[in-house]
Symmetry: C2
Subunit: 312 residues, 2 copies
């Protein structure tokens, strides 16, 4: 038997077959075509699952379950995708629609929760009683796993660390509020900060990596320039690391996890990121050592979304 895990993004849909050991045995990818009607997208996903089964020489009866991680709020109790802005989905009956094609259990969950579950099941935080995954990409996503299950909150909206307030009355956020974590701790934040710095100090390593075009700057360029010792890049990176440390520290104070896992594109900076972040988290409070979780890099990379969705 295999489990199907779907990682549903605003641009791509990844569909994977996961075996009983939680290993991804085969996967394929298709365009999401966001904005098309909900049943059409589900029809495409069903076709993708059939194609994957064919490539594996399996049939529908080999599927133990289907799970999907969606970019937004979801409620696995009702099987509905509550609100996925990037897909234009508002309270869509994901489970019901999928069960028009496949007669097996269908689960749906927030994508960061799914990725957190994967790391907690077969990744770096395997077996942790409480773990929190923070994914650092275009934005900042987060999932909480408590005793082997995603902690989804009362409305399916838990883990919105990216929209916690980090700086009261700070930078305006896409969400319409101010000072959200995501404005300070994401690839977008690195890029925005670097472009602004280039106005005053154009002679820096980031802009050289970008071929002199500020619009071409990426988060990776900021990190690469910082690693190479460029002073402007280093200051931007350390500001980012400082804010990320405050955010992680807030997560620790609230839920006291066994491990905090850093994933997403920015986490490819590896120990360079990890060491910087740890240097800003004080191990003492009230003059005494306080209990600290381990802080580690994610192990499953881009596969986490599919593996976690399959495990729902």
């Amino acid at each position: 038997m295999i489990r199907i895990g779907i990682d549903l993004g605003g641009t791509h849909i990844k569909i994977g077959a996961v075996n009983e050991d939680g290993r991804l045995v085969k996967w394929l990818q298709a365009e999401t075509g966001a904005g098309r009607p909900f049943p059409v997208i589900i029809g495409d996903i069903a076709a993708g699952i059939r194609q994957l089964l064919g490539e594996l020489g399996l049939t529908e009866s080999d599927i133990a379950s289907i799970g999907a991680g969606v970019p937004g709020y979801a409620d696995d109790r009702t099987g509905r995708a509550i609100n996925c802005t990037n897909l234009g989905w508002l309270d869509e009956p994901f489970r019901n629609e999928m069960q028009c094609y496949f007669d097996c259990p269908v689960h749906v969950e927030n994508d960061a929760n799914a990725a957190a579950l994967a790391e907690n099941s077969v990744g770096v935080s395997k077996g942790c009683g409480i773990s929190v995954l923070i994914t650092l990409g275009t934005g900042l996503g987060s999932g909480i796993v408590l005793h082997g299950k995603p902690l989804t909150g009362f409305h399916g909206a838990a883990g919105e660390v990216g929209h916690m307030t980090l700086v009261p009355d700070g930078l305006l956020c896409n969400c319409g509020r101010a000072g959200c974590v995501e404005r300070y701790c994401s690839a977008t934040a690195l890029v925005t900060h670097a472009r602004q710095a280039c106005l005053t100090w154009p002679d820096n390593g980031i802009l050289r990596l970008a071929g002199g075009d500020p619009k071409a700057i990426t988060g990776k360029m900021v990190i690469d320039a910082a690693k190479a010792g460029d002073e402007i890049a280093m200051r931007i990176f350390m500001t980012f690391a400082h804010y990320l440390a405050v955010t992680i520290d807030n997560v620790i104070n609230f839920i006291d996890p066994e491990m905090v896992v850093l994933g997403g594109g920015i986490s490819r900076a590896g120990t360079f990121l990890l060491d910087a972040v740890k240097s800003y988290i004080p191990p003492c409070e009230m003059g005494q050592k306080r209990p600290m979780p381990r802080i580690e890099l994610a192990a499953l990379g881009n596969e986490a979304g599919m593996i976690g969705a399959a495990m729902l």
Copy 2:
């Protein structure tokens, strides 16, 4: 059968008998005498329980269980009080010591977690799947209840909302770090802010309530003066309410509770506090309504600690 609930504070120990409906039938109070040896304090508590039994005409065999809420970290799995700064307790075997006197199950938990459990069991958040209690007193305490059980964290240190960072690089905190929630959202914060304001604007209603002595100012005076329409007091109170709203909002974004409950001395300000706080929490995000929990005042007052401890 009754359950014994102990609310162990730095100044007073409250010992209560709670019946099967979660109602406090009788209680008594003794001085803590913090700083005395751990076994001596436990001996006093045992004597207090015997006195309470006598007053109720009951015997030891009528006790179903004993629970204690302690001001610090505790681990109910091992029955140990890990770190209670105000009592000078470091990794004390609470359960073992208590079972030298009573042959029944003994539980130990953080005091804010116990109070949160009481509200979730028989108080305002009764039956909520996820609720968070925030107690506004000298400091800011917090307890999380998930499906009827305290969420204590991996090291028994969850719910430290008072030491989450609210203002990066902000006011220095007692804990040695900067910008903690407690520096902005507590009776202490109201008093500190009011005393400072009196240096510039001594002609204000708070100072009049304090008989002209800034050292005599209390949190209640600030609130009473604000209620009476004093402009300085109102500004201080609304700043407090704004910071508290940001804190509540961060809790909502992280764990998506069904209800946030406000308790502690400051919560006696009632709807005056509740309306101010709610006015600062935006119901929209990304241009869309987001799921919002109810925000309510605690119902059990000072009894919550004992009732919750009895229910552990």
